[in-house]
């Protein structure tokens, strides 16, 4: 019977097979180490370091030491570091092409540890595009609105309002115009006087020889009459000027009133929107933690994809028949994995313990969602539960975290130097409740900080007013009455384009205080500017009056000159007809 076998062929191959089985005890470990590092790096998008791997296929044991998963966002930092992983594999299930870990343990779990070597790996263009598309969390427009509001406030108060005063311009123009008017009258009076003097001299000369100058003497009454009319006209003009000056004064008054109105309008600001102010103060502060939370959710989705990875069929031919009563097994199933490690939360070290149960690559086969439960002990007690349900077509993830009495270190709120708030170290309770249905993200994060001490920092320069100090004092007074700070962040959108809306009692309190302080400052500034402009206008008006008086005083004697000349010419208060009759020509021709 044994002769039918070709022993020369079988014997060496059986020996080789035995050697392969023996070597596999070591070879599997090497293969696993390589696979974990390569596949892990590909899945995470950053380097995954794996230390020592010990595996026994026959014994169904797997032990991995010193695993460091790089944070893809920070290559010099580990997302997770694991001291030791131990798994008890079901050998029977392995013979059915299924890796089932009945019980496992992860010890020495640490988060956010520093790396000595960068764990950055070259990403594919698709991965780079995904990493670059960093979502904008908050209503940036609203946050900018608050910053712009502060800038606008500064501009309004610091712009040179004096240059924009209409009244000063009007007064200035009148002051420049009025001397000219009087000058014109003065010149006209002088010309008239000269003409009258000349006529007087001519008449005197003509009287010496009336016969020869009979024609001239005959014209003298008309010429004297013309000069008299011009003189009267100048008197009329001179009489009108005070009335015009009064009208111009009224124009200055009207311009001053307009200026007053303009100042008040310019300094009157629309109240600061409380919602926008909340976004401005808390947006930047909350973006980091939110990004982390969503980053973990994304990571969970990557680890447990919503759609199972479809493997290329091993045999393209035929159909695999599933027999009645046969239990379908997933490729990988972790029934229970205990977690034990340390974490650094808000600068405080905490010990954490927990477990992961029913983690599998084909959840539909097990029909159970994967569960994660973590609990921290120490100064910051946190209870976190997460459920990743992939048993239905629509993936459903739930994350709930309850953190009581956590110590929040001192934080500085607000991105602009113009308005910042320093919140001193306080105790807080945080409740995170997030759901991810398909790609739809929903839920909220509630943060309640007790016994908060908020110090405002205002660096707003408002003209020559000590606005920063006023505003700071006002804010300090308002914020002192805030017993607790309650913030609620509502999440919506999708995992790739998440949106967050912040509601907090901080925004309304600060907005009210800022509005009150600004209104007070605006009133003060307006009054000051109005008083300043009034003083300037008064000075201008005084100058105006003085200019008119001086000019009028100059013009009056100038007009008296031609009047006396004409009077001398006609010899007192006589009319032109009388003047004609007094002339010798009349008597000559009589």
């Amino acid at each position: 019977m044994l002769r039918i076998f070709r022993w020369s062929y079988l014997a060496p191959r059986l020996i080789v097979l035995a050697l392969v089985v023996l070597l596999s005890e070591y070879g599997v470990a090497w293969l696993l180490r390589w696979q974990l590092s390569a596949q892990g790096s590909s899945a995470v998008g950053a380097k995954v370091d794996v230390g020592q791997v010990r595996a026994s296929v026959i014994g169904g044991r797997l032990s991995i030491e010193n695993v460091a998963i790089t944070n893809p966002a920070a290559p010099m930092e580990n997302l997770v570091e694991i001291g030791q992983l131990e798994f008890d594999l079901s050998t029977a299930e392995l013979l059915h092409k299924s890796a089932v870990i009945d019980v496992g343990a992860i010890r020495g779990l640490q988060f956010g540890t520093a790396r000595t070597v960068s764990g950055e790996i070259e990403l594919t263009p698709e991965e780079e595009a995904e990493a670059a598309s960093e979502p904008s969390w908050f209503n940036e427009q609203a946050a900018n609105y608050a910053a712009n509001w502060m800038d606008d406030l500064e501009k309004r108060f610091t712009s040179d309002v004096n240059q924009q005063f209409q009244s000063i311009g009007v007064a200035q123009e009148l002051i420049e115009r009025w001397p000219g008017k009087y000058k014109e009258l003065e010149v006209a009076a002088k010309e008239l006087k000269a003409k009258a003097e000349e006529l007087k001299a001519q008449v005197k000369e003509a009287k010496k020889n009336p016969l020869r100058n009979s024609e001239f003497l005959a014209r003298v009454p008309q010429e004297a009459g013309a000069l008299d009319r011009q003189l009267k006209a100048l008197y009329v003009q001179l009489d009108k000027l005070p009335k015009e000056a009064a009208a111009d004064r009224l124009r200055i008054e009207a311009a001053r009133k307009h200026d007053e109105q303009a100042i008040r309008e310019k300094l009157a600001m629309k109240g600061l929107d409380a919602e926008s102010l909340t976004d401005y103060l808390l947006g930047q502060q909350l973006t980091g933690p939110l990004r982390q939370v969503v980053g973990w959710l994304k990571w969970a989705r990557k680890m447990m994809p919503s759609k199972p990875v479809v493997k290329a069929p091993e045999r393209c031919r035929g159909v695999d028949v599933l027999f009645a009563g046969v239990r379908q097994r997933p490729d990988l199933l972790v029934r229970m994995l205990h977690l034990d490690g340390k974490a650094n939360l808000l600068g405080q070290p905490v010990d954490l313990k927990g477990f992961v149960s029913d983690f599998t690559t084909q959840p539909k086969l097990t029909g159970k969602p994967a569960q994660l439960e973590l609990q921290t002990t120490g100064s910051m007690p946190i209870k976190l539960t997460a459920t990743c349900d992939r048993t239905q077509d629509q993936p459903h993830d739930v994350l709930f975290a309850d953190c009581r009495g956590i110590v929040v270190p001192k934080v500085r709120l607000g991105s602009s130097k113009k308005l910042r708030l320093s919140v001193e170290q306080s105790t807080a309770s945080v409740i995170v409740s997030l759901q991810l249905n398909g790609e739809k993200l929903s839920g909220d994060i509630q943060l309640v900080q007790d016994k908060v001490h908020i110090t405002p920092e205002v660096a707003v320069k408002i003209g020559d007013l000590s606005m920063g100090e006023t505003l700071e004092a006002q804010l300090q007074q308002s914020l002192a009455n805030v017993p607790q700070l309650a913030t609620r962040v509502t999440l919506s959108g999708t995992l790739n384009k998440p949106q967050a809306k912040i509601e907090s009692n901080l925004g309304p309190v600060v907005a009210t205080a800022v509005d009150g302080a600004i209104r007070q400052a605006a009133n003060e500034q307006a009054e000051k500017l109005i008083a300043k402009s009034q003083a300037k206008i008064d000075a201008q008006l005084a100058k105006f009056d003085e200019t008119i008086t001086t000019a009028a005083a100059k013009v009056a004697p100038e007009l008296a000159g031609p009047a006396s000349s004409l009077k001398t010419l006609v010899g007192g208060n006589v009319s032109v007809e009388q003047l004609g009759r007094q002339l010798p020509v009349g008597s000559l021709f009589k």
């Binding site: 045999r315 035929g318 159909v319 027999f323």
Partner: protein, 170 residues
């Protein structure tokens, strides 16, 4: 090194010149038929392959048959699938199949695939006629082929080492 390249040719010539008995050639061919018909990548194909190499049968005939029937089996996939499906879905055998499948290495045998089972059954069905036909043909034509081949110097060269070994054994 040269002998390595000549080995397949020598094996073919050996099949025809009576290195192995007609029964060994026919048995090797029959196993090759089963191996060729069965889709690869499962324990069934591996087992048949090991048997072909481990048993005292003509491997050359078996490998040649495996190559030919691997190519041919693709054309019979439709029939294999229907045959495998009919057998795998027999209600009376479900418990039996389930027991085998649940046994260690059960899924690795690949017998739950319709084409694997259908092709293998077709291969087994072809085994006996193939065995009988090949045995008869080899018995009849082996002496003729030996005489014909011996006329050629290349064949003599190819056979040289084997024949020397054979005569020296005798």
């Amino acid at each position: 090194m040269f002998s390595v390249f000549l080995w397949p040719l020598r094996q073919i010539v050996a099949v025809l010149t009576g290195h192995d008995s007609p029964r060994q050639v026919a048995a090797g061919f029959a196993l090759g038929v089963v191996l060729g018909m069965t889709p690869k990548g499962n324990f069934l194909a591996i087992t048949v392959g090991i048997l072909l190499c481990a048993l005292q049968v003509n491997r050359t005939a078996g490998i040649a048959a495996a190559v030919i029937f691997s190519w041919l089996s693709g054309y019979f996939d439709g029939i294999s699938h229907r045959l495998g499906e009919r057998i795998l879905e027999m209600p009376a055998l479900q418990n039996f199949y389930a027991t085998i499948y649940e046994a260690p290495f059960g899924p690795l045998w690949g017998f739950n695939n319709t084409v694997v089972l259908g092709s293998m059954l077709m291969g087994i069905w072809l085994t006996l006629p193939c065995y009988l036909i090949v045995k008869a043909l080899v018995a009849k034509y082996q002496p003729i082929a030996l005489a014909w081949i011996s006329k050629y110097r290349l064949a003599r060269v190819l056979l040289g080492a084997d024949l020397t070994a054979r005569f020296s054994m005798e």
